[in-house]
Point group: C2
Chain length 269, copies 2
């Protein structure tokens, strides 16, 4: 029986809620406990050692709950600290990089895959490595986009906003020039930019790491005998700083009018 057990999901901040949304869509009966490390957001410009420290603390916090699996809902954390986490903690881990890489590899027709992500994810070469393990013939062109997270966090992801459109055009220009036919949104903030990116890159297949991560999680949980929900699914949301600010933005990321009760980690119940 997996009743009462939770899927633990963590991210540096609020972006991982796009993964939670996808999990709730396809596994509405699963308990979820979410942890956003908002005292240390953003992870994407930090060093490898620092990111590992933060991920270690994120997992230690989630372990206060009765978990059946952990989802690293942050491309930066998954890129940098996945191996560390699997070696240290005795829990099944699911991430975002491998599912998105697998989807990109079967989607591309011309063998040219673009990846947009944070500085840390790009520098880690996690997508190049994951896609290379699937098919060495594929070409991966990565582009670090350090301004997209702050722009999305400040609500600038709507059409006809010249600021986000200008920045996106600049970031995507070299990927267009390379004639990629598949683009991975390698950061869990980026699903909110899906429509804008589609307009800039018509004809390019766009893969959201958040959506494919939820699908891979379901498949993996079924394989491990962990799938199976509860009479009424529980959703808990914790952050390391500023629960009010997080709560006010959460529905944007969850894509719903769902009222989210967010607590500080000191208020664990």
């Amino acid at each position: 029986m997996n009743d009462e057990k939770y899927i633990g999901v963590f991210d540096s901040g609020i972006g991982g809620l796009t993964v939670v949304k996808s999990i709730m869509d396809i596994m509405p009966d699963e308990n979820i406990v979410y942890y956003g490390d908002t005292a240390h957001v953003p992870y994407g410009n930090r060093s490898k050692g620092q990111i590992i420290n933060y991920v270690n603390d994120d997992i230690l916090f989630l372990q206060k709950f009765n978990l059946k699996a952990i989802v690293i809902a942050c491309n930066t954390a998954d890129s940098i600290a996945r191996e560390y986490a699997e070696n240290k903690f005795d829990l099944p881990f699911f991430g975002v990089v491998e599912p998105a890489s697998a989807e990109a590899a079967i989607t591309t027709r011309n063998g040219k895959i673009g990846v947009i992500a944070t500085n840390a994810t790009v520098n880690s070469r996690a997508y190049e490595n994951a896609i290379g393990r699937i098919n060495k013939e594929l070409t991966v062109i990565s582009k670090a986009c350090p301004l997209l997270v702050p722009l999305v966090e400040n609500n600038r992801f709507k059409k006809n906003d010249s600021v986000i459109e200008t920045v996106l055009n600049e970031y995507l220009e070299p990927l267009k020039a390379e004639k990629i036919d598949t683009l991975v949104l390698g950061c869990t903030h980026y699903p909110l930019l899906y429509d804008l990116i589609s307009d800039i890159m018509p004809g390019t297949k766009i893969i959201s790491s958040s959506v494919v991560a939820a699908n891979a999680l379901k498949k993996g949980m079924i394989e491990l005998g962990l799938y199976g929900g509860n009479v009424s699914a529980q959703r808990k949301f914790y952050v390391s700083d500023n629960p009010e600010l997080f709560g006010s933005k959460a529905s944007t990321f969850l894509g719903s009018d769902m009222k989210v009760s967010v607590k500080h980690i000191s208020e664990i119940d």
Copy 2:
């Protein structure tokens, strides 16, 4: 004798180097040890309690050196944690908010002062309080500008960049509408935007908290008998994460070609 003693300067990240530049300009013989808490940058969107925790750790680190004074070279930290720091630590503290407030109060002719700053600084009402203590008749209009720090950090502070110009115009519009005649740059990142802001607000007196903070520091040190440099001034730079990234950006903020040797806090010598 104050020989060998250091002025300790800290900020959440790299912005405080604009204060260091001003200190080096007017007090070239003083030893300076700088600490940028880059593992926790930015402070400007965090809660009061979290900012106080970080400031406490910043000061504990600087106290490993032989200090004669500490400069809080971050408007957010000075706004939120100055009182805490003065109560807890037995050192003379100098900040950025009070000098900029004093300068604004004697500069304005129409009594309308604008302040641009981070969310945390604006929410703290530190400028309203400091200017109100000087002259209750003055009106302070504050505007939180959360995108300016990430834009400056990503090198977007040059003329003819439509992104920074659009964002600045939006932020400054309500201050223009209120017909302010004096504008405080209430964040140590903002001196890099001085020329752009001057173009948008011709005729408005612009006060950089970084420049006036250095002047106030010198005056205060003379009064306390702390002023007096060394045969050859030492400058040390420490960060809590990513010394390479910090070093690559430092000369932009110091406004010089000075090569800066930056160490991680674990490498203290």
